[in-house]
C-alpha cells in the first residue's frame, strides 16, 4: 500500500471518516440533530469534492483491485446525491417518532461507502466486500423503527433473503474464480475471452457460476421472479428509508451488474444476454401488473420500482446485444430514477410526518386543497415516473428504448430486442394508470374528514426543490448529463 493508493481511494476513505465523525459528534452532543446534520452535509460535500478531484484522471489502486474511471465517478456522485437527499427528507419523519437522527445518518453514510467501494471495484473480492458493506446498513435501516412490528418484519425478510442471495452470489463467484484462476476483473475477462475464442461450449461449471451470479444479482435489484422480499421490506420500513432502499441499493446493485457482467463476464455476453432480456420482460410486466392493484401508495411505489428495474434492464440487455448506447441509457435512467423516485418518496414521507398517518390512497384525497405545493410536486414526480415529457423520466425511457430499437435493428437477437422495446412502452401505458390514480385522488376527490395541514422543515423543502429541479432539467436539457454518461459508459464498453 502506497500513498497514491490512498489518494485514489480518497473519496471512500473520506466517506468512512465522515460516518465515524457523525458518531463522534453524537457522543459529544447526544441526541442533538443540528450538529449531526451539519457534519453530515459538510462531510458529504467534502466527499463529493474529493470524488470530482480524483475523478479528473483515471487511476487504479492496490495493484489494480480498485479503479477510478468516469464510471466510478459518475456512480459515486449519484450515491452522494442519494444519501444527501435521504438525509434531507428523514429528520422530520424520524423526530416525530423519537428515532435518533445522528445514528441514521451515520448508518446511511456507511452504506454509501460500501456502494462507492462497489462502484470502483476491479476485483471480485472487493466487489463482494463493497456489496456487503452496502447492504448490511440497509438491513439496519429497514428495521430502524424498532417498536413498529411491520418495520421489524420487513427488516427480517430483507435480511434473510438478502444474506441468502449474497451466499448464492458468493457461490457463483467461487465458480468463476475456480475456472479462471484469478479474482481480478481484468484477468477474469481475459481468461474468459480466451475460452470463448476457442469456440468451446460453455463448460458446466461456468454455466453454474453464471446461473448463481445472475440469481444473486437478480435478488439484489429485485428482478422478477426474485422480488418477493421487496414489497414487505419497502412497506414496513420507515418511509424515508423506503425511498433510500428503492434507489440506493438498486443503483448499487446495477453498479455490481455493470462491473461484473459487462466487465468480468463480458466475453460471455452471448450466453447471459438472453437471461437479462427475459428478466427485463418479466420484471417490468409483472411489477406493473401487480402495482395496478395496490391501494397503498408506498406499496404501489415499491412495485413500480420493480417495474423501473425492468426498464433499466432493457438498457442493459441492449448493451449486451452490442449497443454501447444501452449502457448510456441505463446510466441516464439510473440518474433520472434516483431523483424522481426520491422526490416521490420525499413527498410521501412528508405527508406521513405525523405517526399514524397511513400511506393509503385516502391520505392523498384532496391534497391539492390541503397542501397544494406537495400535490403539485408529487404530480411532477409521478408524471416523470410515468415517462411523460418534458421530464427526466421521459428522457430516460427515450434513451433506453432508443438503445433497444437500435439493438433490434442491428444485433442477431434483433427481433427480440424490438419486441422488448414495444413491451417497455406498453408497460409505460399500464404504469400511467396507477400513477395517475394518485393524481386522481389528489386533484379530483375530496378528503374525508378533517385532516390537519402539516408544517414541513426547511430541509424537506430544499430536498424537494432539488429533486424537482433535477427532474425538470434532465428532461428539458439532457445535454448536461449526456457527456458524462457517454464517458462513463465508454469506460466499461
Amino acid at each position: 500500500m502506497s500513498f497514491s493508493d490512498i489518494v485514489t481511494l480518497a473519496p471512500f476513505v473520506a466517506a468512512v471518516l465522515v460516518a465515524a465523525a457523525i458518531i463522534v459528534v453524537d457522543f459529544i452532543a447526544p441526541g442533538r440533530k443540528v450538529p449531526a446534520l451539519a457534519v453530515t452535509f459538510i462531510g458529504l460535500a467534502l466527499v463529493a469534492a474529493l470524488t470530482v478531484v480524483t475523478g479528473q484522471t483515471s487511476s487504479t489502486a492496490f495493484n489494480g483491485a480498485y479503479v477510478v474511471d468516469p464510471l466510478t465517478t459518475f456512480l459515486d456522485m449519484l450515491f452522494v446525491a442519494i444519501v444527501a437527499l435521504t438525509v434531507a427528507f428523514a429528520p422530520d419523519y424520524l423526530e416525530q417518532r423519537t428515532l435518533p437522527v445522528a445514528e441514521f445518518n451515520a448508518v446511511l453514510v456507511f452504506a454509501m461507502s460500501g456502494a462507492m467501494l462497489l462502484a470502483g471495484s476491479a476485483d471480485l473480492l472487493v466487489l463482494f466486500l463493497g456489496l456487503e458493506l452496502m447492504v448490511l446498513p440497509g438491513y439496519v435501516l429497514a428495521g430502524y423503527h424498532k417498536s413498529d412490528g411491520f418495520s421489524t418484519e420487513g427488516a427480517i425478510k430483507y435480511f434473510l433473503l438478502g444474506s441468502f442471495s449474497s451466499a448464492i452470489f458468493l457461490f457463483g463467484l467461487a465458480f468463476v474464480w475456480g475456472l479462471t484462476g484469478t479474482t481480478r476483473i481484468e484477468g477474469v475477462s481475459q481468461s474468459l475471452a480466451a475460452m470463448a475464442a476457442g469456440g468451446a461450449a460453455l463448460s458446466p461449471g461456468l454455466g453454474m457460476g453464471l446461473a448463481f451470479l445472475t440469481t444473486g444479482v437478480a435478488f439484489k435489484i429485485a428482478a422478477v421472479p426474485f422480488h418477493y422480499w421487496t414489497p414487505d421490506a419497502y412497506q414496513g420500513s420507515p418511509t424515508p428509508v423506503t425511498g433510500y432502499l428503492s434507489v440506493g441499493p438498486k443503483v448499487g446493485a446495477f453498479a455490481l451488474i455493470i462491473r461484473l457482467f459487462a466487465g468480468a463476464l463480458g466475453p460471455l455476453a452471448a450466453d447471459w444476454s438472453i437471461m437479462f432480456m427475459v428478466l427485463a420482460a418479466l420484471t417490468m410486466t409483472l411489477g406493473n401488473l401487480v402495482a395496478l392493484t395496490q391501494d397503498n401508495v408506498k406499496r404501489m411505489l415499491a412495485y413500480s420500482s420493480i417495474a423501473h428495474t425492468g426498464y433499466m434492464l432493457v438498457g442493459f440487455a441492449a448493451f449486451a446485444a452490442g449497443q454501447i448506447r444501452g449502457m448510456e441509457g441505463l446510466l441516464y435512467y439510473m440518474a433520472a430514477y434516483t431523483f424522481m423516485n426520491l422526490g416521490a418518496f420525499g413527498v410521501v414521507s412528508a405527508l406521513q410526518k405525523r405517526p399514524g398517518i397511513t400511506s393509503n390512497l385516502s391520505t392523498f384525497a384532496g391534497l391539492i386543497r390541503r397542501e397544494p405545493k406537495l400535490a403539485l410536486l408529487l404530480t411532477l414526480f409521478l408524471l416523470s415516473l410515468t415517462g411523460i415529457p418534458p421530464t427526466a423520466g421521459f428522457f430516460g425511457k427515450f434513451y433506453v428504448i432508443l438503445a433497444a430499437v437500435e439493438a433490434g435493428q442491428t444485433s442477431a437477437t434483433g427481433g427480440w430486442m424490438t419486441g422488448l422495446a414495444i413491451l417497455a412502452v406498453l408497460n409505460a401505458a399500464v404504469a400511467a394508470f396507477y400513477y395517475l390514480r394518485v393524481v386522481v385522488y389528489m386533484f379530483m376527490r375530496d378528503q374525508a374528514g378533517d385532516v390537519p395541514v402539516l408544517r414541513h422543515g426547511r430541509l424537506v423543502w430544499a430536498g424537494l426543490a432539488v429533486t424537482a429541479a433535477v427532474t425538470v432539467v434532465l428532461g428539458l436539457f439532457p445535454n448536461v448529463l449526456l457527456d458524462i454518461v457517454g464517458k462513463a459508459a465508454a469506460a466499461i464498453g
Binding site: L383, L402, V405, Q409, I422, L426, V440
Partner: protein, 516 residues
C-alpha cells in the same frame, strides 16, 4: 414579409399562453375574476399575434416560413425547430381562435377552482400550438404528450358525474398510441442515422421527409412503422374502431373542454397523418390506404347511425364528430388534390361548427342541468335567438350549400369519386343520414309546444346572453365566410397539399399481396 419577420413570432405564439399560465399562478386565489380576465387577455393576445402571423405569411408555396432553429440535444441531432406552412398556420389560428372563445365560454359555467382551470387551459393551448408548429419529431412528441396532462385535469376535475372514468380512458387510449409512435419515431431516426451515418437531421421533419422520398423508409419497416404512427393518429382523430373514448370524454368534459376537444384535439390526428404518416411512409401509406378508407367509411356510417339513436344532446354531437372526422381520413387517403384539400377544410369546419354546437348544448345545459332530447321542445318560441343560432349551426353541420360544412365534404366526395366511386357513393348516402339525425334532433328541441320539463324551469330559461352570443358570432361569421369563399383557406394550404401528395405520387405502393 413585413416588419414582424424579425421576431421569433412562432415561439412567441407558442409560449405566450405559458407566460399567461405562470402569471395566473401568482394571482390571489380568492379572486376568480382576476384569473378569468388574465387568461382571456393572454388568449386574446396570442390570437392577435397569430393573426399577425397570418397576415405576414406569404401564401405562394408549401414551404415553411418563420422557421426558428436552435440546437438542443446535438448528440442525437435534436433541435428546437419550429415554423409554419399553410397547413400549420390554418390550424394554429383555429386553435388560438377557439381557445379564447372557450375561455370566454367558461366564465360562467366554471365556478370552482377557476385559477387551476385557467392555467390548465393555457397550458393546453401551448401543447396544441406546439404540435402544429414543431418541425422536429422529438419536439413534436413532447408537445403531443403535453396536450394530455391539462386535458386530463380539465375532464377529471371539472367534468360530469363519470368524469374520472372518462378522463382515465382518454389518457390511456392516447398514451398507448403515442408510446408506440415513440418507438416508431426512434426506429425511423435510427434508420436515418444508419443510412446517412450521422444523427444530424435524424429528428428533423424536413430532412426525414427528403430521406423518405428516396425510398429509404419503404419495405416491411415502413409498413410497420406507418402502422405505429397511424395508430397514434387514428386514436386521436378518432377512427373507428378506436373511437370509444370520445363519447365518454365529450359527455363528461365541461362545455369548453368539449369544444376544444372537438375543435382542436381531434385535428391533431388529422394533422399527424398529413404532416408525418403520409410523407414519411408514402409507400406504406398506399399499402394501408384501402384499410383506412374502409374504416373511414365505417366511421362515417356508424357514427351517423349511432348519433341517430342518441337520447343525449351532447352524445349525439359527439357521435356526429366520429362521422364527420371520417370524411377527414377518407379525404386524406384517396391521395388526390381535392380530397386532401377537402379533408383540411373539413377539419377547420368541423372545428368551427362542432365547437359551436357544443357551446350551444352547454348553454341549454347550464339552464336546465339536463341534456335529454326527449325532455326538450318548443325552444323556438321561448328562446328564439338561441333556437335560431342552434338552427344555423345544425344546418352548417348538415352541409347546407353556402355554409362552410358543405365545401369540405363536397371536395372530399369529389376527390373520392375520382379514385373510388363506390366509396364516394356510400359516403354521399350518409350525408342524407346526417341530415336525418341533425334535423330530427333540432325539430325535437326547437319546435312544438314548450315541454313540461322546460316549463318547470320557468324564468331560468332565458335566451342567449350577450357573452354567449359573443362566443358564437365569430364562429358563425367564419362559417359563412368560408362557405362563400373557401379559397381563403384553399390558397393557404394548396402548397402543403401538393408537397404531401408529391411524396405519394413518386412512391410505388408496397405490394404485400394481402389485399389485392
Amino acid at each position: 414579409m413585413t416588419a414582424l419577420s424579425g421576431l421569433p413570432l412562432v415561439s412567441i405564439i407558442t409560449f405566450l399562453p405559458l407566460v399567461g399560465a405562470i402569471v395566473i399562478a401568482f394571482t390571489p386565489s380568492g379572486r376568480p375574476n382576476v384569473a378569468r380576465y388574465t387568461a382571456l387577455a393572454f388568449a386574446l393576445l396570442t390570437w392577435v399575434v397569430s393573426l399577425g402571423l397570418l397576415v405576414s405569411f406569404v401564401a405562394t408555396n408549401g414551404d415553411f416560413q418563420f422557421v426558428e432553429t436552435q440546437s438542443w440535444i446535438p448528440m442525437f441531432g435534436i433541435q428546437y425547430k419550429v415554423g409554419v406552412d399553410g397547413l400549420s398556420l390554418v390550424l394554429v389560428v383555429l386553435t388560438t381562435t377557439l381557445t379564447w372563445i372557450s375561455i370566454l365560454a367558461s366564465f360562467s359555467p366554471i365556478q370552482n377552482r377557476v385559477k387551476e382551470y385557467m392555467i390548465s387551459f393555457l397550458v393546453l393551448e401551448v401543447g396544441m400550438i406546439g404540435v402544429f408548429v414543431a418541425m422536429d419529431l422529438f419536439l413534436f412528441y413532447i408537445f403531443w404528450e403535453l396536450v394530455l396532462v391539462p386535458m386530463y385535469l380539465i375532464i377529471g376535475i371539472w367534468g360530469g358525474r363519470n368524469r374520472i372514468y372518462a378522463t382515465i380512458k382518454f389518457v390511456l387510449y392516447t398514451l398507448v398510441g403515442s408510446l408506440l409512435m415513440l418507438v416508431a419515431i426512434l426506429a425511423t431516426a435510427f434508420t436515418y442515422e444508419t443510412v446517412t451515418g450521422s444523427w444530424t437531421g435524424a429528428f428533423d421533419m424536413q430532412a426525414l421527409t427528403a430521406f423518405a422520398a428516396q425510398g429509404n423508409l419503404a419495405g416491411t419497416f415502413g409498413v410497420v412503422a406507418f402502422a405505429a404512427f397511424a395508430l397514434a393518429f387514428a386514436i386521436k382523430v378518432p377512427m373507428f374502431p378506436f373511437h370509444t373514448w370520445l363519447p365518454d370524454a365529450h359527455v363528461e368534459a365541461p362545455t369548453a373542454g368539449s369544444v376544444i376537444l372537438a375543435a382542436v384535439l381531434l385535428k391533431l390526428g388529422g394533422y399527424g397523418f398529413i404532416r408525418l404518416a403520409v410523407p414519411l411512409f408514402p409507400e406504406a401509406a398506399q399499402t394501408w390506404a384501402p384499410v383506412i378508407i374502409v374504416l373511414s367509411l365505417v366511421a362515417i356510417i356508424y357514427g351517423a347511425i349511432v348519433a341517430l339513436v342518441q337520447p343525449d344532446l351532447k352524445k349525439l354531437v359527439a357521435y356526429s364528430s366520429v362521422s364527420h372526422m371520417g370524411f377527414v381520413t377518407l379525404g386524406i387517403f384517396v391521395f388526390q388534390q381535392q380530397g386532401m384539400q377537402g379533408a383540411i377544410l373539413q377539419m377547420v369546419n368541423h372545428g368551427l361548427i362542432t365547437g359551436a354546437l357544443f357551446l350551444l348544448v352547454g348553454v341549454i345545459y347550464e339552464r336546465t342541468h339536463d341534456r335529454t332530447i326527449a325532455k326538450m321542445g318548443g325552444l323556438g318560441a321561448k328562446t328564439p335567438v338561441y333556437a335560431a343560432a342552434f338552427g344555423f349551426f345544425v344546418f352548417a353541420s348538415v352541409g347546407l350549400p353556402g355554409l362552410s360544412g358543405f365545401v369540405g365534404e363536397f371536395l372530399v366526395l369529389v376527390g373520392t369519386f375520382t379514385t373510388s366511386p363506390a366509396a364516394a357513393a356510400v359516403a354521399t348516402f350518409v350525408m342524407i343520414l346526417a341530415a336525418g339525425y341533425l334535423l330530427w334532433m333540432f325539430q325535437r328541441v326547437a319546435f312544438g309546444e314548450l315541454s313540461d320539463f322546460l316549463k318547470g324551469i320557468g324564468d331560468h330559461l332565458t335566451d342567449l346572453r350577450p357573452v354567449e352570443a359573443l362566443t358564437l358570432v365569430p364562429l358563425g361569421a367564419l362559417v359563412v365566410v368560408f362557405g362563400l369563399f373557401p379559397g381563403l383557406i384553399l390558397d393557404l394550404i394548396a402548397g402543403s397539399v401538393t408537397h404531401a401528395l408529391a411524396a405519394v405520387q413518386q412512391a410505388a405502393p408496397i405490394a404485400l399481396g394481402l389485399w389485392r
